[in-house]
């Protein structure tokens, strides 16, 4: 775990209102594993840091993907290149890609693309053939950067690829790795109880001390998305007890 003052080095749009930003954090870039995240703070920013899966690594830079969903992400998207972000990470427990599987199916919905490029990289490095199924509400909202040996698109309105959800469009493979809204992950759990899923929760510290990011477990009790998670075996989560969609501060207009 490192705390790095990381200059913002780049920004690009990868889907409608969906941006990738890059920051120079070599200590994190060289140690982060698929499914791990960073907790970001910035000068003049909100009280708590904001957690983001590491999207991609490029030399000494790490990238994250985000949309302006609340006040924090709106501010973050306004940070100018060269300005510094306080970057804490890598955090959490990522995907286990050491099982010897030969094929991996990546299933991502909307911003659930967040951990997938680095996951595709690591799975390919472990000799797996990658099928990446990426879904969104409409073609415009798909992330344009999905890649693999095979890419399958899915949209709720049928404007690109399969008409329906990414889960429905996905073939099966030796391992299934999924990220997206918790409701989507519950559907993943129904179809593939052994899938590895990266969940989304509200988070306070990101380091295991505040116990704010509780994930309800089928065996009873809770553990921490930031420490034991954010990646879980799908069947281990008590899905009805996990808030299905996080809401952010609504601004009256």
């Amino acid at each position: 775990m490192f705390l790095v003052d990381a200059p913002l080095t780049g920004r690009r749009e990868v889907g409608r209102d969906m941006f990738v930003i890059a920051m120079h954090a070599p200590e994190i870039a060289s140690t982060v594993r698929a499914g791990q995240f960073v907790n970001l703070g910035w000068s003049g920013g909100p009280l708590l840091r904001r957690p983001f899966s590491v999207y991609r690594v490029d030399g000494g830079d790490i990238e994250i993907v985000l949309k302006a969903v609340g006040a924090g992400t709106t501010e973050l998207l306004a940070v100018e290149p060269g300005a510094r972000l306080s970057c804490l990470g890598p955090l959490g427990h990522g995907f286990d890609l050491t099982s010897g599987a030969r094929t991996a199916v990546l299933v991502s919905g909307g911003l659930g693309v967040a951990p997938m490029p680095i996951t595709a990289r690591d799975a390919a490095a472990n000799g797996m053939r990658i099928t990446w199924v990426h879904g969104a509400r409409t073609a415009a909202e798909l992330c344009s950067e999905a890649q693999g040996d095979e890419v399958i698109w899915a949209t709720d309105d049928g404007s690109r690829g399969a008409h329906g959800t990414a889960v429905a469009a996905a073939p099966t493979g030796d391992i299934v790795l999924a990220c997206g809204p918790n409701r989507m992950l519950a559907a993943v759990a129904d179809r593939w109880p052994e899938a590895q899923v990266a969940v989304e929760t509200y988070m306070g510290c990101g380091t295991g001390v505040c116990l704010g990011c509780a994930v309800p477990l089928r065996r009873g009790g809770y553990d921490r998305a930031c420490k034991e998670g954010p990646v879980y075996r799908a069947a281990d989560i008590d899905w009805p007890a996990l808030p299905s969609q996080l809401s952010y501060t609504v601004m009256a207009r």
């Binding site: 775990m1 705390l3 703070g41 909100p46 009280l47 708590l48 840091r49 804490l88 929760t201 509200y202 988070m203 306070g204 510290c205 380091t207 295991g208 001390v209 505040c210 116990l211 704010g212 990011c213 509780a214 994930v215 309800p216 009873g220 009790g221 809770y222 420490k227 007890a241 996990l242 808030p243 996080l246 809401s247 609504v250």
Partner: protein
């Protein structure tokens, strides 16, 4: 910068507040070098699961939390954490909780004498199950009864963490002082609520939560000051401290020491930065020790 809190001498005036530093073992970046003491996450005699998510919500300059005192219980604390604390060069106090005065006493007795545990901070912001769920901390008699129940079962320092949700904190402060408290910690979180305008319901599953962070700092400085005016035992200031000057406000207002809490979530080095900043301030103002810092503490 050493400071006396009752019979205890701390190497510095800045401590880690309960619930914001875990058990001190979770984060390698949490700097322990500057810690005067650590207060561990609140614990009950038996393990508790905690409340359903969402447990936290950010609010302007603050956060609400309803964790529900999730914890492993006394036996696991003694087995898993105390042995590590025994090797550290600063004291660890355990924040203790109960549903009855007797349960607080039982917990103190279970932990008394365990190597690595240097004292207790009593959280009196718990509902008293035997009295219909009224909070111990709102009633001077109940607060005193809990303090006495713990005092009778241990010879270690006993601090009492006061709730701000009272009409006169001085009354509670005097009651627990008379019951044998060695120090007071002022204050715990304020009870608050925030509404999700998409779902038309509270943002926390527990409905309400404890408000912490800079939003409560002026309220906390006032209440800590009122408590300090009311008693002769030391008061430890808590509430929204993120920077050295925040801590200095509490110290000048009559506190013997301070605890840093929520700030640690965003900045794992907050305790060390506050500690170093106080030292620099004292030097800049020509104070050779904390005892030379001018105080504003007119006696009632």
């Amino acid at each position: 910068m050493s400071v006396a809190v009752g019979a205890m001498t701390l190497r510095g005036p800045v401590m880690a507040a309960s619930g914001t530093f875990g058990y001190g073992t979770e984060v390698p970046l949490l700097e322990r070098r500057a810690l005067g003491a650590m207060v561990s996450k609140g614990i009950f005699l038996r393990a508790r699961e905690g409340t359903a998510p969402p447990r936290i919500a950010e609010t302007p300059s603050g956060m609400l939390n309803a964790i529900g005192l999730q914890g492993p219980g006394a036996d696991a604390l003694v087995r898993d954490y105390a042995p590590r604390w025994a090797e550290w060069d600063f004291p660890v106090l355990v924040n203790i909780n109960g549903e009855s005065a007797a349960e607080y006493g039982e917990l103190a007795a279970r932990l008394d004498g365990v190597p690595g545990i240097s004292g207790f901070e009593i959280n009196i912001s718990c509902p008293n199950v035997e009295q219909g769920g009224l909070y111990f901390g709102n009633d001077p008699r109940a607060a005193a009864a809990v303090t006495e129940a713990v005092r009778n079962r241990t010879s270690l320092p006993v601090w009492v963490k006061l709730t701000p949700m009272v009409s006169d904190i001085g009354v509670i402060a005097r009651a627990v002082e008379s019951a044998g408290a060695d120090a007071l910690c002022a204050i715990n979180t304020f009870v608050g609520m925030s509404i999700d305008l998409n779902a038309y319901k509270p943002r926390l599953s527990f409905r309400t939560g404890g408000l912490s962070g800079p939003a409560i700092r002026p309220l906390a400085v006032h209440l800590a000051h009122q408590a300090a005016r009311a008693v002769r035992i030391p008061v430890i200031g808590i509430g929204g401290i993120a920077r050295p000057e925040d801590a200095l406000e509490f110290l000048v207002a009559g506190c013997a020491a301070v605890q840093v809490g929520t700030a640690t979530f965003a900045n794992p080095r907050a305790v060390a930065e506050v500690h170093d900043g106080i030292a620099a301030f004292l030097e800049g103002r020509g104070c050779r020790s904390l005892s030379e810092l001018p105080r504003y503490l007119p006696r009632d």
